[in-house]
Amino acid sequence: MSHETWQEQLRRGSLDLAILLTVSDGPRYGLAIIQHLEAFTDLVVTEGTIYPILGRLTRDGLLSAEWVEGEAPHARKYYSLTRAGAKRLSTMKAEWRAFAEKIERLMASSERHAS
């Protein structure tokens, strides 16, 4: 596997978690989600590909979506975390931390042996 493929898999694997985290503190519309992700990560490579993921998370019952008119000259589609989404987010966060901790331990051990 090339380095780029590995990076791409990491990016894809963490996008769901990143999106759920972004809407966990309140409803956000698509562009606001993208801007938040861009401010904290480099996970968004092509902005337009975030919308199909938002659609899938909505179909899966993790997000709910609602069009809001009158707030701007154009309508905005707001996404909120559902109860199932909050439950899934909590599981994903715990799994991510446990995973990162194991890899960190492994790297620390490898570096100790190398020095």
């Binding site: 698509g30 092509t46 590909t49 919308y51 019952g61 069009w67 000259p73 154009h74």
Partner: protein, 203 residues
């Protein structure tokens, strides 16, 4: 930035291509919603962008960051394929979903190989049933040099080969073909359903 007529045409052209691309595999109401959301994104970006050095460059930058319409449509396709396959149970969406999963993981590609082979075997049996009445001397259980050699068709028959069995092979092939296809299709649907469930929360 307020768009000129040229800028509006550029956006409309982008949305038109996106709509046409999405329309080839998504229901109309889903396409409408997706295009409305992408248009909202573009309008939002345009409203917050300075038209310097010129409108054309600013607009092209916005659309480049959004991604080409075919790329965006492709992303929708990748996310919808499996859901559509499980929901409809239609052959083409299911095969497309199996192919999509085959490209993602090693296990997916191994399962796809098995399922595509099963579909091919089923179609092969049905082809034997269809060809037997047309080419009775070339289709059936082919025996070569005294031993069974092939169940199928040969044009022309190789030297030393003879076709055994009569028209009884037609109902047997139909039964085997339908049986194998039903098995392949059911297994495919179970596989895709199981894959879909892995993503979903316990509601």
């Amino acid at each position: 930035m307020t768009l000129t007529e040229t800028g509006e045409s550029r956006i409309n052209g982008y949305l038109f291509v996106l709509e046409r691309s999405l329309g080839s595999f998504l229901p109309a109401d889903v396409v409408r919603d997706a295009v409305r959301e992408i248009e909202s994104h573009v309008r939002e970006r345009v409203a917050s962008t300075d038209a310097m050095p010129n409108e054309r460059e600013a607009l092209e930058r916005i659309l480049a960051e959004l991604g080409p319409p075919l790329r965006v449509a492709q992303a929708y396709s990748a996310e919808r394929t499996i859901d559509e396959a499980v929901a409809t149970g239609r052959v083409v969406p299911m095969l497309r979903a199996v192919w999509t999963l085959a490209l993602r993981t090693f296990v997916g590609s191994a399962i796809a190989t098995g399922l595509f082979s099963a579909y091919a075997a089923g179609i092969g049996f049905l082809a034997i049933a269809a060809l037997k009445p047309i080419f009775p001397n070339n289709v059936g259980l082919i025996v070569r040099n005294g031993g069974p050699w092939q169940l199928g068709a040969q044009f022309p028959l190789p030297p030393g080969a003879t076709v055994h069995g009569g028209y009884w092979i037609i109902p047997v092939s139909i039964a085997c073909g339908v049986g194998v296809l039903v098995f392949a299709h059911t297994t495919t649907r179970h596989y895709l359903t199981a894959w879909g469930k892995r993503r979903r929360p316990e509601l």
